[in-house]
């Protein structure tokens, strides 16, 4: 490619702008405003019940573990470490339970606050 051809090509490439559609800026501003609006948290009252149940369940769980562990008949799968280990173990259990319930509740419109048709 000669220098002249290269210059021509460069001039030509300067014309390769692609124009946006006419309403692009308007659509963009709508998108920007929507993204700036605070996200509404649609937690239904029934979710509070489920959460409360889980917290209470977790606490009971933890207390039962403590009791079991204090007795010599504690099951082998219980953590044998100190209090921190038991707390972490209970939290993991709680988290697992919570996730499982959340997943199942999503498939359960009445609990998640939606109305059946």
């Amino acid at each position: 490619m000669t220098e002249k051809e290269e210059q021509y090509l460069a001039d030509l490439l300067k014309k390769s702008t692609v124009e946006t559609s006419e309403d692009f800026t308007d659509r963009l501003l709508v998108a920007v405003r929507q993204s700036a609006a605070p996200v509404k948290q649609s937690v239904s009252p029934k979710w509070w019940l489920v959460s409360l149940f889980l917290i209470a369940g977790g606490l009971i769980h933890f207390l039962v573990f403590r009791m079991l562990n204090s007795a010599s008949s504690a099951p082998v799968w219980l953590p044998q470490g100190g209090l921190a280990a038991k707390v972490i173990f209970s939290l993991v259990l709680l988290l697992l339970l919570n996730t499982t319930l959340r997943l199942s509740v999503q498939e359960w419109p009445l609990i998640s606050g939606e109305q059946r048709e």
Partner: protein
């Protein structure tokens, strides 16, 4: 009084960040939207998808502009966002690229008149760019259309200096060949 249209980028950015002046942001959008779309089309090869990507990029810019430390580097920072958004969009849509050996230039009748009109030139150059590999088209547009220096292209794309130079060289060769294939004898009007 200086209007927004004549103000430099840095003044508009300060106006937007410090005074929350949306009009300053709109001026930036109007200044960069077509160039951003040209860059996006190089990667995505489809105008609708490219417009979506550019819109998403501008939304990101709107939210991240206040945290941009080196406001003077706005241009390369902005193009980097556009390019990354396009790459994500391409991954998301799993676009099968239409370029290279498998693709022959679209059969379009060469213009009849002796001199190609300005719109024709634009049409054919964009058609030829569409046939190029995304990286080549991207680098060509960034170098010639956006008039960025190699170092700025490096920053905006994340490509190495060597790759940019190779893509520029190959892009020039390939676009010239494609234009010849598209226009035949009429190429003399272009090159």
């Amino acid at each position: 009084m200086e209007t927004n249209r004549t103000k430099p980028d840095i003044a508009l950015i300060r106006q937007f960040v410090q005074r929350k002046d949306e009009q300053a942001f709109v001026t930036l959008v109007n200044r960069y939207k077509d160039l951003a779309l040209s860059v996006a089309i190089s990667v995505l090869k489809d105008k609708t998808w490219a417009e979506d990507a550019v819109q998403e990029a501008f939304v990101k810019v709107y939210h991240s502009l206040p945290s941009l430390r080196r406001k003077a580097h706005f241009k390369t920072w902005f193009y980097r966002i556009v390019i990354n958004t396009c790459y994500n969009e391409r991954k998301r849509r799993r676009i099968t690229m239409e370029y290279g050996e498998a693709t022959q230039p679209e059969a379009t009748a060469p213009p009849q008149q002796n001199k190609l009109r300005k719109e024709d030139q634009k049409h054919y150059i964009n058609l030829a760019l569409k046939q190029l590999k995304p990286d080549e088209a991207l680098v060509l547009r960034m170098f010639y259309l956006l008039e960025l220096r190699i170092k700025e292209i490096e920053r905006a794309t994340g490509f190495s200096k060597a790759k940019i130079k190779v893509d520029l060289h190959r892009g020039r060769q390939n676009i010239s060949q494609t234009l010849r294939a598209l226009l035949g004898a009429e190429i003399e009007d272009l090159l």
